[in-house]
């Protein structure tokens, strides 16, 4: 996905939207961590006032978190609207351009009506719009405008879900609201990536080597030619150059699968975490790394009743249940699996591409995030679910998911081998032939 040329201001807007979404996730995390999601009992108004006219002097206690969350959400919605409209206008001409832009701003105007049936109607349309946009996006892979529409529909759905959770008093809606928030964050991070100079190809995070063997997924002919390349060669020092050779399709594909699979594991973990948090029962297991003093806790009715009786809760007063204890244990086990999977990704990338390669650095950073997440998870338990620690755990979880998604996207685009300093084309071809045999020299591309 690249679109018609790079616009740094568009990229900055996308980046701002991603950062604002991260802040929104943090404030939303604080709302749930403090247990004040219903501190403002009405929506879209705030204690009967227009939310923009609700005086700051009344932002007391839990109202501060919930009202700030709503205001920040409105800001993110506005940024997403501008981003979607900009992407649309940028990639279309004449009739479709103005029709699309008008529809976007019409929907924005309808959101200003502060009418619940209108909101529910728009939210009901959102999944349809997302479905149609996904279809169009895969038909036009170079285009970004359909991803902008998806983000726009998603942010409307997310806002309405949050509001309905308040007026309908349904904890289950809070779970969907939390999960969609994470997915939306991944989407806006991806948009920030796609609008970046780096992705557009006009620059690079690493200096582009003069000698490279590029595997590009777009060309089927190149793919089939690459299959015939020798499967594995040791790194070779030839005339001052280090050439690492591999069977690109097999090994890159394996790494892509690993990255994507690990990202899905993290998504599953976030779904588990959201389910736990939005049952508002506090810590189902008050100790770590043991669980009620054991490796696996007793979850018979008598034991669970005893846990509830011994629990001295201050803010979370929903009783804990056997299923919640089960969820917490699943969350802990999955954390270990994720840590192992991300470590494997980092090791695989480093082994295949060397430590200086972009993917090696990113996967190592990803591993650092996951390790921080494990520490925060333990700290959440040890601090008896202190609101700031629990919220940091949510935020780092979101960053971990977004990092995995970005890695999966980056790895699917193509990979560049590490090479030496600028080389002569003839020398490059000779090196390629030495490494891969005569058939490979015709497909090596020099950059």
């Amino acid at each position: 996905m690249s679109g018609p040329g790079n616009n740094c201001w568009l990229h900055r807007l996308a980046l701002l939207t991603a950062l604002a979404t991260l802040a929104l996730l943090g404030i939303g995390g604080l709302v749930t961590s403090h247990g004040v999601g219903l501190a403002v009992p009405d929506w879209p108004n705030t204690f009967g006032y227009n939310m923009f006219l609700f005086r700051p002097s009344k932002w007391l206690g839990g109202i501060l978190y919930e009202h700030t969350h709503r205001l920040t959400a409105t800001f993110v919605g506005l940024l997403t609207t501008i981003l979607a409209a900009w992407l649309w206008v940028r990639e279309t001409r004449s009739g479709p351009r103005w029709l699309g832009a008008s529809l976007i701003f019409l929907v924005l105007a309808l959101m200003g009506a502060r009418n619940l049936p209108v909101y529910v109607g728009l939210a009901g349309l959102a999944p349809v719009v997302v479905g149609v946009s996904l279809y169009q996006a895969q038909r036009h892979p170079q285009s970004l405008r359909w991803w902008g529409i998806i983000a726009f529909a998603a942010v409307i759905l997310q806002g309405v879900l949050g509001g309905l959770r308040v007026v309908l008093l349904k904890d289950q809606l809070g779970i969907f609201h939390a999960i969609l928030a994470q997915l939306f964050f991944v989407l806006v991070c991806a948009l920030a990536l796609f609008t970046s100079k780096w992705w557009q190809g006009e620059g690079a995070l690493d200096p582009r080597p003069a000698l490279s063997l590029t595997w590009i997924s777009r060309s089927r002919r190149r793919q089939s030619a690459l299959i015939s390349v020798e499967k594995k060669l040791a790194p070779t020092d030839v005339g001052g150059y280090t050439l690492r050779a591999f069977s690109p399709k097999c090994e890159v594909f394996r790494l892509r699968v690993l990255l994507f699979g690990t990202t899905l594991l993290i998504l599953g973990q976030l779904i588990l975490g959201a389910t736990m948090r939005h049952q508002h029962a506090g810590l189902a297991i008050p100790d770590f790394p043991l669980a009620y003093g054991k490796l696996w806790p007793a979850i018979d009715p008598g034991s669970v009743a005893l846990y509830n009786q011994r629990r001295l809760e201050i803010t979370d007063a929903n009783p804990i249940s056997a299923s919640q204890i089960g969820l917490q244990m699943a969350h802990r086990i999955l954390a270990v699996l994720i840590l192992s999977a991300v470590a494997w990704c980092a090791w695989s990338a480093r082994r295949r591409f060397g430590r200086e390669h972009l993917l090696s650095k990113l996967t190592l950073g990803w591993l650092g995030l996951i390790m921080a997440q494990v520490v925060l998870g333990a700290w959440t338990v040890w601090s008896n679910k202190a609101a700031d620690v629990a919220t940091a755990h949510v935020l780092v979880g979101a960053l971990s998911l977004a990092t995995g998604a970005i890695l999966s996207i980056v790895s699917s685009r193509g990979l560049v081998l590490a090479g030496g300093p600028a080389a002569q084309p003839r020398l490059a071809a000779s090196l390629t032939e030495t490494a891969f045999g005569p058939s490979a020299s015709a497909i090596a591309s020099l950059q």
Partner: protein, 235 residues
């Protein structure tokens, strides 16, 4: 006509006789063992508006125990009785929000009996009921400082139905709802009294949120006060 009026007189006499011979059940609840230390409600202390309503740091009240082990906030009720609620005609029960705490934290009412929630604080609260029994409605209503009382009525029996404030998430009250009038809540001295219990054999239950539940059999004889003590164990 004559037979009808005779029947009415007889029924009235029987009711009067029963009332005359209705008895009380009294007793004391004590706690065995050492309860865990109460926790300081630090979010209340740290709240800029609620913190200044207290001169000392408020604590939780999981176990309110007297010097000789007398246990307060125990809900004592007769088991196995239903459909005898007089809640509709009973006087309303008051629940106050004072010092950013619900007072009293433990109460008991009948189905159909009105609960009037008052806000005596200079800050806004919202009253959020969280029933677990289908048929009792969940509500979340804002209540301005010294604003009008909010009425709540529940139609189904439920143990320890929760009230909370979402603006101040440490605020909780629990109200048990019964389908009959034979219940009481033990006071700070651990004593309780259930009045006007018709003669008969019953199962009496004592329930505490943390110390658990205990039941005993009791026989109430006409004109005699039945006495039964309970001992609950700290968990």
């Amino acid at each position: 006509m004559k037979k009808t009026s005779t029947l009415i007189v007889v029924v009235g006499l029987v009711a009067a006789l029963q009332a005359t011979h209705a008895s009380d059940i009294t007793g004391t609840v004590t706690l065995k063992g050492t309860p865990p230390a109460e926790k300081e409600i630090t979010p209340l202390k740290d709240d800029p508006n609620c913190g200044k309503l207290h001169t000392t740091v408020p604590t939780t009240h999981f176990y309110v125990v007297g010097p000789k082990g007398e246990l307060a906030d125990v809900v004592i009720s007769l088991n196995g009785i239903s459909g005898q609620s007089t809640g509709a005609s009973a006087p309303p029960v008051n629940l106050d929000q004072k010092g950013c705490e619900y007072l009293p934290p433990i109460q008991a009412v009948q189905t159909g009996q009105k609960i009037l929630v008052k806000n005596s604080d200079p800050v806004l609260h919202n009253v959020h009921t969280l029933p677990a029994v289908a048929g009792n409605d969940e509500k979340n209503q804002a209540q301005a400082p010294n604003g009008p009382e909010l009425p709540f009525v529940f139609s189904k029996p439920e143990n320890f139905l929760k009230f909370k404030c979402d603006v101040h998430p440490w605020m909780f009250a629990w109200i048990s709802v019964f389908d009959h009038p034979y219940f009481a809540v033990s006071g700070k001295d651990g004593t309780f009294k259930i009045a006007n219990v018709p003669p008969g054999k019953y199962t009496l239950q004592a329930a505490h949120r943390k110390a658990g539940t205990a039941t005993q059999q009791i026989e109430v004889k006409a004109g005699e006060t039945a006495k039964l003590d309970f001992t609950l164990e700290a968990k």
